[in-house]
């Protein structure tokens, strides 16, 4: 597939998820995601693969390359160039109860990376489209699993005026359940404090833990172009301060989980950072109304 065809498949997805239909959770959105994945995989199979020198313990990475154009780093043990169509179908329909969390995580990583890497090669310097695509992919999976489409703004009546704010995806699961606040990022870096700040606004407007905060992130890798090395940028002490002093995120899920963050669940304030495949097996905890716990 060429650039124009991949763009056409992306636009079809975007139109389905964000257009008049606005049905992020629907089967049809899943089909559009699958079509785009299949197209991107075909394109990536025509490219060269170059190993990177990984400076991250116990992880190895490569890039897709077309001459001097290279993709973002790809985790070699998560990415598969031979995902079966049954696996793709099952994951995009959230029919994952028989799969291991690590298998689910790797399949979703592969689907997410395929579009992002194809776009890296086809459209140099475009950060926005991969970010939007990743929001649609994760938004589709979470809304399918919860059975509810999200909204992206929130209104609070105050004594003086009604304040309406744009938000990341938020889900209303009904009066007797939690609401869900779902920020989705391809990476976090220094802007991650926004996630805790928005959770704080929701807690202040609507009561602590009325919304459970679930952050989903792709990876924290950083490629050093000249040296052909890859590192991870992690700030675990800053996350600790945010969780102590700003607000409490209920879960953080990664597709490519950095070890420095995974260790945060074992020390105060016990931020629960896990692989995204675990999400599908703890939906009841997320839905359950009440304070963090």
């Amino acid at each position: 597939l060429n650039k124009t065809e991949i763009e056409r498949l992306y636009e079809a997805l975007k139109k389905r998820a964000e257009g008049a239909a606005r049905d992020l959770k629907g089967q049809e959105t899943g089909d559009k995601l699958r079509n785009l994945y299949v197209g991107c995989r075909g394109f990536l199979q025509t490219l060269e693969i170059r190993e990177l020198t990984s400076l991250i313990p116990r992880k190895s990475y490569f890039v897709f390359a077309d001459g001097d154009r290279t993709s973002r780093p790809v985790n070699a043990s998560l990415y598969s160039d031979s995902l079966s169509s049954e696996t793709v179908q099952a994951v995009l329909n959230c029919a994952v109860s028989a799969m291991a969390p690590s298998t689910i995580t790797a399949a979703i990583y592969t689907i997410a990376m395929s579009y992002c890497c194809a776009n890296d090669i086809l459209k140099r310097g475009d950060q926005k489209t991969p970010g939007t695509f990743f929001e649609l992919l994760i938004g589709h999976l979470v809304s399918s699993a919860l059975g509810v489409n999200p909204t992206t703004q929130i209104t609070a009546p105050t004594l003086d005026l009604n304040i309406t704010l744009p938000t990341d995806f938020v889900f209303d699961l009904g009066a007797d359940k939690s609401r869900v606040h779902l920020p989705i990022k391809t990476s976090t870096r220094e802007r991650v404090v926004q996630v805790w700040a928005h959770q704080r606004v929701l807690d202040g407007m609507h009561g602590v833990a009325r919304f459970k905060g679930v952050l989903v992130v792709m990876a924290e890798t950083n490629k050093q172009e000249k040296a052909e090395t890859v590192t991870e940028v992690c700030l675990p002490n800053q996350w600790t301060a945010y969780q102590m002093y700003i607000a409490q995120m209920f879960r953080v899920y990664y597709l490519d989980l950095p070890e420095p963050y995974s260790r945060l669940k074992d020390r105060y304030p016990f931020i629960q950072v896990k692989q995204f495949g675990d999400f599908f097996f703890e939906i009841d905890k997320i839905e359950r109304s009440g304070l963090v716990g």
Copy 2:
């Protein structure tokens, strides 16, 4: 002056303020700022001036232009191409008690815009250097006025570990006075929530209002390249939510004050947004220890 000479003057400033001397408040840093301003003014006088169509009520703007390269929008009633050397000297030494706040604001705006516009023309796409320059300029003025140099990290002992965080400039004025938290931005847009979030972390770590938050911003203008128009991007309801639910900023100062924000001081939660020249006449309020008010 050409590009190399302006770069040399900028590096001399940066070395003085951030190098071994680390004396942001000192007279010598003021001299380097003046040299850089004089150099940039000379360069700008060789350029064409093009009026923009202003979509902002009661404000008119122009750009400096060199062929198809244009600068950011400049507020015509604040910028002066004939600042006297006495005014420049007085402002950079904080000897401003005899000047009107609006005169001080316009002089600092002129100094700030001169470097930013020269850099816009000389280095297309460089956002970082103007941001750093603006931090050094405002940091110099505030630290001179307070008589103390800032630091850029903060340590909090917790029950489990010492957490050290990088911060915007923070000032320790002594045990019986407030500390000051001074974020400085050329514009804010959607990233401004970081300012309130960092204030919240400081309040949580050290007690509410132990640090008084003072945000300084250049402008909120946005240029539409093709249409040659200029607008202001303001989100006053979001600021209201942040001030109500995240933390309380003590002051917000602008060089080019947007009217939608200046109105925030007249309605709950009464965010005090003012022109930067007012800062020099309310230092005692900022220094005074105690809760917001």
